[in-house]
C-alpha cells in the first residue's frame, strides 16, 4: 500500500506545469535596477500627471527606510532588488484602437491560456482585462459596461481618464506605507485594473483580470482598485500564470476594495503562478497585499482564493468591517507541493457594531512543502455584538511536509462571540481502502477526498472558475498519499 502510494505521489509531483511556455515577443523594457530614475521612467512611459509621480516618489522614499518582513514562516535567499526589471511591456506596432488590432502573438498567448479576447467568441458574459508583464493589453466589453455606468479599464487608463476617482481612492485602503511590499508596489506599479460600480448598479457580468508574467528577470507589480458605491454589486475574478524559468521572479501586487453602504463585492482568485520545479528551482515569489473596507452599513466583502502556484506565497486578503452590520468573508484553499511555501490567511478587523465575519481555510500540504495559515480576528472596544467563526483545517499528504496554524484572536468587547476551530489530519488509509473496495483507484480516491475537503471553499467560486479550480486541484495533487 505504502509503496504503491509513494509511486503515485512520485508521478503526480512530477506532473508538468502546463502554462510554462514563453511567448516570443519583443518587449520594451526599463533598465535593470531600482532608483528614483526607474520610478520617473515608469511614470514618464505612462505619461502620468505630476500628482501620480509624486505619489510614486513618496512611496519609493519611504520604501528605502523600510526592511523586508522576516516574520512569515517562509525561507528564501535575499532578494536583490537591483537585479529586477521593473518595467516590461510587449512592443506593439501601433497602439491598438480596438480589440482587433492586438498583436496576434499576444492573442495566441491568451488563447493558449484559455482566455479569449474575442468578444463574439465568449459564450459567457465575462469581461476581461488582460495584463501581460507590466501593462494591460486589452479590456473586453468596455462599451457594454459603460452603458450601465460601470467603469472597467486598465489602471493606466483610469489615471488618465478618471483622475478624481483615482486620487480619492488609490491608497485609501492600503496606504503606500502599509508594509515593505506595498511601498515598493506604490512606487513602481505599472498597470492593473480599475472597476467602479456606481450607486445602485448590479454589474451585469463578471469582471476579470488575467495576469501573465512573460519576460525574464522582470517583476510584476500590478495594482487593482475596486469601488462599489451604495447598493452596488460586482463579482470579480483574478487569474494568473507565468512561464517556467529557473530564476525566481517577484510579484508584489496590491488590491484595494471599497464597499459603501449595502454594496457587495465578491473577489475570487485562482492563483497559479509558476511554482518552481520539483527541486524547488525557480518559481514566483507572490508577495501580495489585498484589503477591502466595508465603509458603509450592511456592506459585504467576500474573498475566495484557490492558491496552487508560486514558490512562495505571502498573502492575507483582509476586511476592515467599519460599517455597522457589515460582513466579511474569507474562503481559501491553499495547496503546496514539492518545495512550495505558503504563509497565507486573513485579517478581519471588526470596528462597527453587529459586524460578522467568517473564515474557512483549507490547507493541503504535499511533497516537501510548508503550508501556514496566519490570521487575525480583532474586535474593537466599540464593536458590539461582533461575530466571527473560523475554521482552519489542514490535510497532510506525505511525511515530509508541514502544516502550521497561527491564528491571533484579540477581543475587547464583552458582547462579541468569536469561535475558532482547527484540525490537522491526513487522508485515512481506511478512506482510500473504502474507495478502492468500491472500485475507485487510489489516484481518483485522493482527488475525491481532497475535493471533499476543499468543497466548502470551492462552492464559493463563480461557475466560471469552479471547473478550472477543480482541475487545478486535481493536477496539483492527485494521488499524493504517503
Amino acid at each position: 500500500m505504502h509503496e504503491e502510494n509513494d509511486d503515485i505521489l512520485e508521478q503526480i509531483t512530477s506532473s508538468e506545469y502546463k502554462y510554462g511556455f514563453v511567448t516570443d515577443i519583443e518587449a520594451d523594457e526599463a533598465p535593470k535596477g531600482l532608483s528614483e530614475d526607474t520610478v520617473r521612467f515608469i511614470s514618464a512611459k505612462k505619461n502620468e500627471p505630476a500628482w501620480m509621480l509624486d505619489y510614486r516618489l513618496k512611496a519609493y522614499r519611504h520604501w528605502l527606510t523600510m526592511e523586508e518582513p522576516k516574520w512569515p514562516n517562509v525561507e528564501y535567499p535575499p532578494i536583490n532588488y537591483q537585479d529586477i526589471i521593473y518595467y516590461s511591456a510587449p512592443k506593439q506596432k501601433i497602439a491598438p484602437d480596438s480589440l482587433d488590432d492586438i498583436d496576434p502573438e499576444l492573442r495566441k498567448t491568451f488563447e493558449k491560456l484559455g482566455i479569449s479576447l474575442n468578444e463574439q467568441k465568449r459564450l459567457t458574459g465575462v469581461a476581461v482585462d488582460a495584463v501581460i508583464d507590466s501593462v494591460s493589453v486589452a479590456t473586453t466589453f468596455k462599451e457594454e459596461l459603460s452603458k450601465v455606468g460601470v467603469i472597467f479599464c486598465s489602471m493606466s487608463e483610469a489615471i488618465q481618464e478618471h483622475p478624481d476617482l483615482i486620487k480619492k481612492y488609490l491608497g485609501s485602503v492600503v496606504p503606500a506605507t502599509d508594509n515593505y511590499f506595498t511601498a515598493l508596489n506604490s512606487a513602481v506599479f505599472s498597470d492593473g485594473s480599475f472597476c467602479f460600480i456606481p450607486k445602485g448598479v448590479r454589474c451585469p457580468m463578471e469582471l476579470s483580470t488575467y495576469f501573465r508574467i512573460n519576460a525574464a528577470n522582470t517583476g510584476q507589480f500590478e495594482r487593482t482598485l475596486i469601488v462599489a458605491e451604495d447598493e452596488a454589486y460586482v463579482s470579480y475574478l483574478e487569474g494568473c500564470t507565468a512561464p517556467m524559468r529557473d530564476e525566481n521572479q517577484l510579484h508584489a501586487a496590491v488590491v484595494e476594495i471599497v464597499a459603501m453602504e449595502k454594496a457587495e463585492v465578491k473577489y475570487s482568485t485562482v492563483q497559479n503562478w509558476y511554482p518552481g520545479d520539483k527541486e524547488g528551482k525557480g518559481g514566483i515569489y507572490n508577495f501580495v497585499t489585498k484589503r477591502g473596507i466595508c465603509a458603509g452599513a450592511h456592506a459585504k466583502i467576500s474573498w475566495t482564493q484557490v492558491e496552487t502556484g508560486s514558490s512562495i506565497t505571502w498573502k492575507y486578503p483582509s476586511v476592515i468591517l467599519k460599517g455597522d452590520y457589515s460582513i466579511g468573508e474569507f474562503y481559501s484553499v491553499a495547496v503546496t507541493n514539492n518545495f512550495q511555501q505558503a504563509d497565507t490567511g486573513t485579517k478581519m478587523v471588526h470596528l462597527g457594531k453587529n459586524t460578522k465575519s467568517r473564515i474557512v481555510s483549507k490547507g493541503i500540504s504535499a511533497g516537501k512543502s510548508q503550508n501556514s495559515y496566519r490570521g487575525l480576528v480583532s474586535v474593537a472596544k466599540n464593536a458590539g455584538n461582533a461575530r466571527n467563526f473560523s475554521q482552519c483545517d489542514s490535510l497532510l499528504l506525505g511525511d515530509k511536509c508541514g502544516a502550521h496554524t497561527f491564528p491571533y484572536i484579540e477581543v475587547k468587547n464583552n458582547t462579541a462571540v468569536v469561535e475558532h476551530e482547527a484540525t490537522t489530519s491526513k487522508i485515512g488509509e481506511d478512506q482510500i481502502f473504502y474507495c478502492n473496495q468500491r472500485g475507485i483507484d487510489t489516484e481518483t480516491a485522493v482527488a475525491l477526498i481532497v475535493n471533499g475537503f476543499a468543497k466548502e471553499v470551492m462552492n464559493q467560486l463563480p461557475m466560471e472558475f469552479a471547473v478550472e479550480a477543480q482541475k487545478l486541484l486535481a493536477i496539483s495533487l492527485e494521488g499524493s498519499v504517503g
Binding site: L396, Y408, V411, V418, E419, E421, K426
Partner: protein, 433 residues
C-alpha cells in the same frame, strides 16, 4: 523612574562573588542576560505582557528573613499538615522552615547548590537550564544567574510518595517592591509517583515581583501531578516557567489556577521525548480588576505515539485581560501523535479583553491534532432556561460561570488542594447551592 539594571548588577556581584558550585553557570547566564535584556512587547512571545515595566529601581533584593516557625504555621493550607513542605522566603530556599514527612529513602530535598557538587551533579548538569531551549529570553537567564538559592528535589526509583510536596513561596513586601527568583529542579526517577503543588503568599501588603523557573524531569513509568495555585492578591507580579521533560514513557499532569495578580505570566512546557508518553494541561484564569494573566504553553511531541490534551478556561471581569498562547509542535518523526487543545473565554466585564493564539506546527502526517478556541459571553439560552425555572438572573449567571470554571478545578488530584481551590472559586463567583 530608572530601570533595574544597577540594582540587579549589584545583587548579582554580591552573591556570585562568594563562588560555589554554580558560580560559573550563574556568570554565563548573567552575561546572557546582559546581552538580551528583559523581553519587551515587540518580542512576539511577550506581545501583550509588559513585565519589563515592573523592573524598576524600586526593586528590593536582599536575603532578609524574619519569618518564625510559628508565623509559618499560620500560613499552611488547611488539611495539608502532613505534606512534605518546602519553603522559599523571598525567592531563596529555606531549609530550616522546610520539612520532609516521607522517608529519606523515598525523597531527598536539598539546596540546588549542594546537588551541583554531590552524587546528583550529573543530573543537575544535564537538566539545569533545559528550559532555555524553549525560552531563550533574558528573563529566564536572569533567574539562572541567581540559581544558587534554589532547591533540588529527588523522588527515588519506584517510590510512590505518601504525602504531597507543597512548595510555599513567601514574599515579604513590607520593605517595598520585593523581587524573588525561586529556582526548582526536580528529578522524578523511574516509576516514582509524586504530587507537587506550588502556592504563593505575599506578606506585608506591598508589591511583589517573582521570576521563577521550575525544571522537572520524569523518567519511565513516572507519574507527576503538578498544581500551581496563584491567589496572592492584586499587587503581585509574576513571570514563571514550569518545564516538564518526559525522558521515558510516563504521565505528567498539570493544573494552573490563577485567581489574582497584577501581571501574571505562566509558561508551561511538556516536552515529550519518549514514545507513548501522555500529558495533560489544564488551566483556569478567573480574573477581575486590572489583572492581566498570560498563559503560554508548549507541547513538544518529539517521538511517535504520544498523547496530549490541553484545556484552558478564562473568565474576565472588570478591566482584566486574559492571554492564552498554546503551541503544539509535532516533530518530523512523531507519527501517530494525538494532540488536542482547547481554550475557552468568557468576557464578563465591560472593559475586559481576551487575546488568544492557539498554534499548531505539524511536520508529521499521520497525526490527529485539533485546537479550538472561543471568546464570548454567557450563553443567553442557558441563562433563560435557568431563569425560566425560577432561578434569579444573578444566581443563574454565577451558576453558569461556576459550571464553566469548576471542571478545571476538578482536575486537581489532591483532595485538600482541590477542596481549597473549589472554595476560592465558589467565593469569587458568589456561588452557593
Amino acid at each position: 523612574m530608572m530601570d533595574a539594571t544597577n540594582i540587579l548588577k549589584e545583587a548579582f556581584d554580591k552573591q556570585n562573588g562568594a563562588g560555589g558550585n554554580l558560580a560559573e553557570y550563574q556568570q554565563e547566564n548573567w552575561n546572557m542576560f546582559s546581552g538580551l535584556g528583559l523581553p519587551a512587547i515587540k518580542h512576539e512571545e511577550w506581545k501583550y505582557t509588559r513585565i519589563r515595566n515592573v523592573f524598576t529601581d524600586k526593586l528590593v533584593i536582599n536575603n532578609d528573613n524574619n519569618l518564625s516557625k510559628d508565623a509559618l504555621e499560620k500560613l499552611i493550607l488547611k488539611g495539608t499538615e502532613n505534606a512534605n513542605r518546602i519553603v522559599f522566603i523571598n525567592g531563596r530556599f529555606d531549609a530550616t522552615l522546610s520539612n520532609t514527612t516521607d522517608s529519606a529513602e523515598a525523597l531527598c530535598i536539598k539546596p540546588l547548590e549542594a546537588a551541583a557538587g554531590d552524587e546528583d551533579a550529573n543530573f543537575v548538569n544535564i537538566n539545569l537550564g533545559h528550559s532555555q531551549r524553549y525560552h531563550g529570553d533574558g528573563i529566564n537567564a536572569l533567574n539562572a544567574a541567581f540559581a544558587n538559592g534554589g532547591v533540588y528535589i529527588r523522588v527515588n526509583k519506584g517510590v510512590s510518595l505518601d504525602n504531597p510536596i507543597i512548595i510555599y513561596h513567601i514574599s515579604d513586601s513590607s520593605q517595598g517592591l520585593r523581587f524573588s527568583q525561586p529556582r526548582i529542579l526536580v528529578n522524578i526517577q523511574e516509576a516514582a509517583q509524586v504530587e507537587l503543588i506550588e502556592t504563593y503568599i505575599n506578606l506585608g501588603g506591598g508589591e511583589t515581583l517573582t521570576n521563577e523557573v521550575v525544571e522537572i524531569s520524569a523518567e519511565k513509568d513516572a507519574v507527576l501531578h503538578y498544581v500551581k495555585l496563584q491567589h496572592e492578591g492584586e499587587k503581585t507580579n509574576y513571570a514563571g516557567t514550569t518545564h516538564i521533560r518526559q525522558t521515558g514513557k510516563c504521565l505528567t499532569h498539570a493544573v494552573t489556577v490563577t485567581l489574582s495578580g497584577a501581571i501574571v505570566r505562566n509558561n508551561l512546557n511538556m516536552v515529550m521525548e519518549a514514545e507513548h508518553g501522555e500529558s495533560h494541561m489544564y488551566g483556569l484564569y478567573l480574573l477581575k480588576g486590572n489583572t492581566l494573566a498570560d498563559n503560554h504553553t508548549i507541547v513538544d511531541n518529539a517521538m511517535p505515539h504520544c498523547f496530549s490534551n490541553e484545556l484552558y478556561k478564562g473568565i474576565m471581569d472588570d478591566a482584566s485581560t486574559g492571554v492564552f498562547n498554546g503551541k503544539i509542535f509535532v516533530r518530523k518523526d512523531a507519527q501517530k501523535t494525538n494532540a488536542y487543545q482547547s481554550n475557552k473565554n468568557i468576557l464578563v466585564g465591560e472593559n475586559a479583553s481576551a487575546n488568544t493564539k492557539p498554534q499548531l506546527e505539524i511536520l508529521a502526517d499521520d497525526v490527529k491534532c485539533s485546537h479550538g478556541c472561543t471568546i464570548g459571553k454567557l450563553d443567553e439560552d442557558a441563562l433563560f432556561y435557568l431563569r425560566a425555572r425560577g432561578i434569579s438572573a444573578e444566581n443563574a449567571r454565577s451558576m453558569l460561570l461556576h459550571a464553566f470554571a469548576i471542571d478545571i478545578i476538578e482536575q486537581i488530584k489532591n483532595e485538600e488542594i482541590k477542596a481549597y481551590a473549589e472554595q476560592l472559586v465558589a467565593e469569587r463567583l458568589s456561588f452557593n447551592i
